[in-house]
């Protein structure tokens, strides 16, 4: 485990997940997916997926290309409403028709194809869709101060100026902006699709550190990754998808790389029945 010092926020929920059996007192996981299915015409991208995402922990979603990982998170983010199935948020049944609906619950998503506007600066991107206003006009000062505060607080990277166009940033910096954007809006769940796929070694380390920091603040993190090294570095829980189904899910301590690879490549359904 990579749990760093002073991460009191994550210790409690971690114990909670180890507890087995009916527990009246413990709150339900932040997000619960039940029987989620999604069809694209004849393609069945998701078939009956059940998944719990607890607060204060990093849940890694792994699986081969085309397993349905991106489709699953897009269902949670309100991009592709599921064909069937139920989504529970803090125990309540919710429907997520639009990105806005998901956002209002506190779900922030950092997409594989980064959803940033290259022609806008860092501050403008951080606040896109949530602009601070004063007397009906944009309050640039507040937005700039707050952006600087958040970037400093996450202390992951440095930029020349927060008024720099996002189009002029490096891949790692863009990823960090996308993550910081998610954090700033007081999200309870941050979803990241392949956050380190396009990054070099140093930048990857920075983003992983950022992920750990989010979880230690009590935020639930759901991260998709192809890189098992990364997964075993940051994840508290692991969820494996295979051809549109969720084959296994559990604390990372129950897995090693060999077992994970086996699940990814074969689906190894035997354990699921048991």
């Amino acid at each position: 485990m990579t749990t760093t010092s002073g991460s009191t926020g994550r210790a409690v929920p971690e114990n909670a997940t180890h507890a087995v059996g009916p527990e009246v007192a413990s709150p339900p996981p932040l997000l619960q997916l039940r029987g989620i299915a999604k069809h694209f015409g004849a393609v069945e991208a998701l078939k009956h997926v059940d998944l719990d995402v607890p607060a204060g922990q990093v849940t890694a979603l792994i699986g081969d290309n085309g397993a349905g990982k991106s489709t699953l998170i897009k269902a949670v983010a309100g991009i592709y409403p599921p064909s069937s199935g139920e989504i529970f948020w803090e125990g309540q049944r919710v429907t997520l028709h639009s990105p806005r609906a998901a956002e209002e619950l506190g779900i922030a998503t950092v997409y594989q194809d980064l959803a940033l506007c290259d022609n806008l600066d860092i501050v403008q991107n951080m606040y896109l869709g949530h602009e601070a206003t004063k007397h009906g006009t944009l309050d640039e000062i507040t937005m700039e101060l707050e952006t600087r505060r958040v970037l400093t607080e996450l202390s992951v990277f440095t930029v020349r100026s927060v008024r720099q166009l996002v189009g002029s940033l490096s891949g790692g910096q863009r990823q960090a902006i996308a993550v910081a954007r998610a954090v700033m809006h007081e999200s309870k769940l941050v979803i990241m699709d392949e956050p380190t796929a396009a990054l070099g070694v140093t930048q990857t380390a920075q983003v992983l550190e950022l992920i750990t920091r989010l979880a230690s603040r009590g935020i639930a993190v759901l991260v998709i990754s192809h890189n098992l090294n990364d997964v075993f570095t940051v994840a508290d829980r692991i969820a494996v998808m295979y051809l549109g189904t969720l084959v296994e899910c559990g604390p990372i301590a129950n897995y090693d790389t060999t077992r994970a690879v086996e699940l990814i490549t074969t689906g190894a359904g035997a354990r699921v029945e048991g």
Partner: protein, 415 residues
């Protein structure tokens, strides 16, 4: 924990020197962030050339004429800017403007005799409705704006010819009402010219100073105070020079002085347009959609609503442009070349620095670009160049502008 904060502070200190400002300027020019500089330089070269060839060019009379000539290009380019920012285009804007003007002149004639303000409002209402309608078709049916407004280019010309010819005044409806006629042909008194300019300068300078002041007060990176002062001084000098030009007697038989009403019209449109684009959420979203519509959608922006707003604003602006057009020509005819107008409108916006690819541009670009186009036409006529040369020169300027647009786009895209 302190290291990023320190870095930010150091960088702020560095860029606060005048040298840092100039150094970063070149980078901005190349990436298209400071797109005004090259074109202002180009305009200065044009002006110098024409002045050397014919000293009438910089006379008060000709300059005033030039400003008035530019107004129609400026306003149509502003109309186009709303859509160019989205990566869309409106090919019909020339005929839509003319149709608005037709509405006004018909409602003002002996038959209807509407009060001028209602007739002018009706003209703008018509163009706004057309903008809205075209926007709805484009958005709801998911059709390319290029095609729908190409249909508009043909269709609205038909409607224009129908209404103009139905008047039975020989294919032209003259402007006989004083206010509409004066829009271009009337002038503020010299005193009013001073007052208007001083008031505009005061508002602009106050907003520049206030912005810098509040940034500094909040501990944010701001340009050095000297630079702000230089900006303000440049504006004041430009304003005074303009007043002196407009207030010089340019009449031959009678005294003719003062700022043509068309200039305050430009100014109001510039200020309102600039305000919407830089100070409101709507403006921010127009840029965002032009840069990355999917990102805007995922950020929760109602993309269709703001696209529709842009089409509507194009309609409003086209309405104002049409009134200026009718006033300048003293009427509206069934032979209006709306196709040529729209080409010059797009050319003006792009020459000024607005990108054809969406997401980058300003309302002020329409002003600069319109001035460049008007200078070419005005200057070439003064030095007796043929129409053929005028067309070719405009084409070359447009090519250069588009090439610069493309370079700027690539330099930001490639990071």
């Amino acid at each position: 924990m302190t290291s990023p904060e320190q870095t930010v502070t150091e960088k702020r200190a560095e860029s606060a020197t005048a040298q840092g400002v100039i150094g970063s300027l070149w980078g901005k020019v190349r990436s298209g962030e400071a797109s005004l500089l090259p074109i202002l330089f180009g305009l200065a070269v044009l002006v110098a050339y024409f002045q050397v060839r014919n000293s009438v060019f910089l006379s008060a009379g000709n300059l005033t004429n030039l400003f008035v000539q530019a107004t129609i290009f400026i306003l149509l380019a502003m109309a186009e800017t709303w859509l160019l920012l989205l990566g869309e285009i409106d090919l019909s804007v020339g005929y839509v403007a003319a149709l608005g003007a037709t509405t006004a002149v018909i409602l003002l004639d002996a038959q209807f005799h509407w009060p001028w303000y209602l007739a002018l409002l009706a003209a703008i209402a018509v163009t706004t409705a057309i903008g809205l309608l075209q926007g709805l078709i484009i958005i709801k049916l998911r059709l390319p704006s290029f095609i729908v407004t190409l249909a508009g280019l043909l269709g609205w010309e038909g409607v224009l010819i129908f209404f103009v010819d139905r008047q039975g005044t020989g294919g032209t409806i003259p402007v006989q009402e004083k206010v509409l006629y004066d829009l271009v042909n009337g002038n503020l008194s010299p005193l009013a010219t001073w007052i208007f300019t001083a008031a505009s300068l005061a508002i602009f300078c106050w907003s520049i100073l206030r912005k810098d002041q509040s940034r500094r007060a909040s501990g944010l990176e701001a340009v050095p105070f000297v630079v702000t002062l230089m900006k303000v001084a440049a504006l004041v000098i430009a304003g005074i020079v303009l007043v002196l030009i407009f207030n010089t007697n340019r009449g031959t038989f009678t005294v003719l002085r003062g700022m043509p009403y068309a200039i305050p019209v430009d100014f109001v449109m510039l200020t309102v347009g600039g305000f919407i684009l830089t100070r409101t959420k709507a403006g921010r979203y127009i840029y965002a959609i032009g840069g990355n519509p999917e990102a805007a959608r995922r950020a929760g922006v109602n993309v269709d609503r703001y696209r529709l707003l842009a089409f509507t604003l194009t309609g409003v602006t086209a309405g104002v442009a049409g009134l200026i057009y009718a006033s300048r020509l003293g009427g509206i005819s069934d032979g209006v070349d709306g196709g040529n107008l729209v080409l010059l409108a797009v050319a003006s916006a792009v020459i000024g620095g607005t990108s054809l690819f969406g997401g980058r541009g300003k309302i002020i670009h329409a002003v600069i670009g319109g001035m460049v186009i008007a200078s070419i036409y005005n200057g070439m006529a003064l030095i007796n160049m043929s129409a053929a040369t005028q067309f070719i020169a405009t084409a070359l300027v447009l090519l250069v502008a588009v090439a610069m647009d493309s370079v700027a786009r690539r330099s930001t895209a490639s990071r």
